[in-house]
Symmetry: C2
Subunit: 211 residues, 2 copies
């Protein structure tokens, strides 16, 4: 058959194929996150997805393409999550500190627990072992926040000269430290109290620097 995704089939067949495809992506994501690109074998992915190895190759061609497909899905989810969180928490008129705290809290509970993005940041950014995707925008998430920060600055709630830098600082003061805390601990979980402390300290430091 080769590339079942190319032509247009009857809905029933198509649905089955999509289900398998999703299962493979799920399994691949878990294993890549857990063990990294090199140490994750296609056989293991197939086994976890309860799918024959051949099906994996029929769907994705090779290991690299599968990895990129996983990455693409993760990027999508992440971007959607950030957009939602911005829209839901960073609302006008709300106390800025409360808004930012809620925003980060929401991001962590929505994205990190599935551990989706947490370790992928490390996997991708510089595992150096993972193959680099030629076409992908690592900028998107930041830009969403940048726009909102610009509005906040216009409203006098924040003060900065370089909005890009301000967003960078916000991210490292909150998300980066949370990610660090996560993969510092052996089991990959962080004490919720510690997490809250990191978040509040980060937000407060940010506000002292940029209010």
């Amino acid at each position: 058959m080769e590339t079942p995704t190319s032509t247009w089939q009857t809905p029933a067949r198509r649905a089955q194929a999509e289900a398998k495809r999703a299962a493979i992506l799920d399994a691949a994501e878990e294993l890549f996150v857990a063990s990294g690109y090199e140490l994750t074998s296609v056989d293991a992915i197939a086994a976890r997805a309860k799918v024959s190895k051949r099906t994996v190759y029929d769907h994705f061609g090779d290991k690299q393409s599968l990895f990129w497909a996983v990455l693409g899905r993760v990027d999508e989810i992440l971007l959607a999550t950030i957009r939602t969180a911005v829209a839901a928490e960073l609302t006008d008129g709300r106390d800025l500190r409360e808004a930012l705290l809620a925003f980060v809290q929401r991001l962590t509970t929505d994205v990190l627990p599935s551990s989706t993005y947490a370790n992928f940041r490390h996997l991708v950014s510089r595992t150096s072992t993972a193959p680099k995707d030629p076409n992908r925008s690592t900028e998107a998430p930041e830009q969403v926040l940048e726009e909102r920060f610009a509005q906040l600055a216009a409203a006098g709630e924040l003060t900065f000269t370089d909005r890009r830098r301000a967003v960078q600082h916000f991210f490292v003061l909150t998300m980066s430290l949370l990610l660090d805390a996560i993969d510092q601990s052996p089991d990959g979980t962080v004490d919720p109290a510690e997490a809250r402390a990191i978040i509040t300290d980060g937000v407060d430091a940010f506000l002292r620097a940029y209010r």
Copy 2:
């Protein structure tokens, strides 16, 4: 022979052995940093060190131990560099902003260009593919800065409740962003002007938050 490091030999022999050992560590460091743990073969390390593969195994036993040895050396150098930089730049009576700028600048020029620590941070922290060393203190560098920050707080130059957190924030606002910038760029180098901008922005933000 097996493990030439165990018994005590005559100086000449020992010196030769040490030279080889150092050459192996150098080669291993370069290759691990460049390609990651998995993708670096022991054969490649031996070739680069201009040493027979057998010698590598005679010295280090296996690939993991070699990796840990490299890590240990990097840790030592890093710690010494930080101590020196603290002593040299974070002196009493100096304008705090100038001192912190010089401190970060010195760290980057002393540690990053050799790229020693830059990518190793990524290799170790969560490559997940790299083997974990059971006994190593990832805390040391931070603690050096913590002590100095505590003194600065006592002198009224800084204000914070949690000195550990303050140091974390300082690191992410400066070094983390520099490392990010480095491995964001394909060739592993950063425009010096951009680097300076990152440093000054980071230090200024830190001072706004903690002065």
